[in-house]
Amino acid sequence: MFDSMTNQMLWDATKETLYMVAISVGIAHIIGLPLGVLLTTTDKGHILQNLPLNKVIGAVVNVGRSIPFIILMVAIIPFTRMVAGTSIGTTAAIVPLTVAAIPFVARLVESALKEVDSGVIEAAQAMGSTPAEIIRKVLLPEAMPSLVLGFTLTAVSLVGFSAMAGAIGGGGLGDLAIRFGYQRFRGDIMLQTVVILVVLVQGVQTLGDWVSRRVNKR
């Protein structure tokens, strides 16, 4: 359908998108998961109840979530430069993507953990579990199906966000669509990137659903 150079471009852009999304989903979970755990366990009546801490984390998370991504991306350019050494390119795009995803992940983890039956937590307490044991052996495994779905949702959202990162020269499919599809009037390339994005999202969602069903023993 395309000449080999265009194909090469599409393939490279796809790889860049996958790279951005994979790394930022990963890092966002490394930071967002503990935050979500804290949000849940410090809440009223939970195992580590600490309302002031809960309020502070909740407020920070809400602020993070209410800033539109496109603005966040520009606003944290100094931070991006500090972390990635540059503010343009694929690696640089990972920084705002991750920062945007952390509060999102924290809320998703929180809602997944809140679904865990309080009776089960109580049984674990009655058996003499420490809070750390409850988190590790009860909360996380019991919430695993929801956590996997949350992980999937984050990945899908970040595919969309990563296209926006293209607007500031972040690379990836979004970048390609804007530079060639929009600015050079190559409707065919625009269409092709959209098709790849749809396939990507569909694939991630299907995989996530499948894994979630596999780990669901309820």
Binding site: V120, A123, A126, G128, T130, P141, M144, V215, K217
Partner: protein, 341 residues
């Protein structure tokens, strides 16, 4: 074994709820101790106070000479490992198999792999679920889930088993088999069991001792056979009414056939233990020429002690009736004048 002193629990909130209002209780070692009460009586709070899932507002709790109310959270965790607990809704980990659930407390206690494996197998065998080791809770019936719950509670060889409405979510048949299992465990291991329920038959089936709880206060306590055959408090009577007490059609009691100085009395006779075997009524009639008419009778078993109840109508000349009643009272049977007509 378990000693509660001056236990109060008040739940703060819009409306203060006084769940427990001064509980003093001694639960001897190796006994099956039942706490019965209507919902809202505070019984669930009571049992949850024993392992401090609920912290009492005031009062002290001793378990096996340890004052649990004064323990640090680390000490409390290790004390909890010596107390098993089972729940109305089983509270199993849905992400673990039956074997995995039973292994949980062993993991907490730091048992190694082989130790855990043998212990889990032993426990599955004890509760009769050897073939369900790899089944997830969602694949088990209610009774099987509670058996897993029991196995999990007993895995660390606790001295006490707390049962919070453990059979209330089960059908009568399954309830029976679960109670049977608890009874066996109590006998084999000498485990102290504290069991709370709103179901009279549960107490009757397995408990040695019972406390009747109402409005956060213990109304009556003692051996099950004594409390149920000779209830002292209104609360107990009310509770007994549904299951044990007799209700005679009012017409029968008011039958107006008194004539020429004859006397008619309705007596309630309660037999406990071996007294139930004596041919009491026929002896009475042979000695004292009165008419005896049995209105109602039942025989039952309270744990292992047979007990019976008979509603007897005696009629005849007044002094003969008196003599007959005196005779009955001199025998190994509880006599209560149900109605003097």
């Amino acid at each position: 074994m378990i000693r509660l002193r001056g236990l109060y629990k008040t739940f703060e909130g819009k409306n203060q709820v006084h769940a427990l209002r001064g509980i003093d209780l001694d639960i001897p070692k190796g006994q099956v101790f039942g706490v019965i009460g209507q919902s809202g009586a505070g019984k669930s709070t009571l049992v949850r106070c024993i392992n401090l899932l609920e912290r009492p507002t005031s009062g002290q709790i001793w378990v096996d000479d340890t004052e649990v109310t004064s323990l640090s959270s680390r000490q409390l965790r290790s004390a909890r490992k010596r107390m098993g607990m089972i729940f109305q809704h089983f509270n199993l980990l849905s992400s673990r198999t039956a074997a995995g659930n039973i292994a949980y407390p062993l993991e907490l206690a730091g048992a190694d792999k082989t130790e855990t494996k043998t212990r889990v197998e032993e426990m599955l065998k004890l509760v009769g679920l050897e073939d369900k080791a790899h089944a997830y809770p969602a694949q088990l019936s209610g009774g099987q889930k509670q058996r897993v719950g029991i196995a999990r509670a007993l895995a660390n060889e606790p001295q006490v088993l707390l049962c919070d409405e453990a059979t209330s979510a089960l059908d009568p048949e399954t309830t029976k088999s679960v109670l049977q299992l608890l009874k066996e465990i109590n006998q084999q291991m000498g485990l102290t069991i504290v069991l709370i329920t709103h179901e009279m038959p549960v107490i009757q089936e397995i408990c040695d001792m019972v406390a009747v709880l109402e409005h956060g206060i213990i109304q009556e306590e003692g051996r099950v056979i004594d409390v149920f055959t000779k209830p002292k408090s209104q609360a107990t009577r009310r509770m007994l009414q549904d299951t044990m007490e007799v209700r005679i059609p009012p017409d029968l009691l008011q039958r107006p056939e008194k004539s020429n100085g004859d006397c008619r009395r309705i007596l309630k006779l309660s037999f406990v233990g071996p007294g139930a075997h004596e041919p009491l009524i026929s002896d009475m009639v042979k000695r004292h020429p009165v008419n005896a008419n049995i209105l109602f009778g039942r025989i039952d078993q309270m744990k292992d002690i047979p007990f019976g109840m008979l509603l007897l109508e005696i009629s005849g000349e007044a002094d003969l009736v008196d003599q007959a009643v005196n005779y009955l009272q001199s025998q190994d049977v509880e006599v209560e004048v149900f109605q003097d007509v």
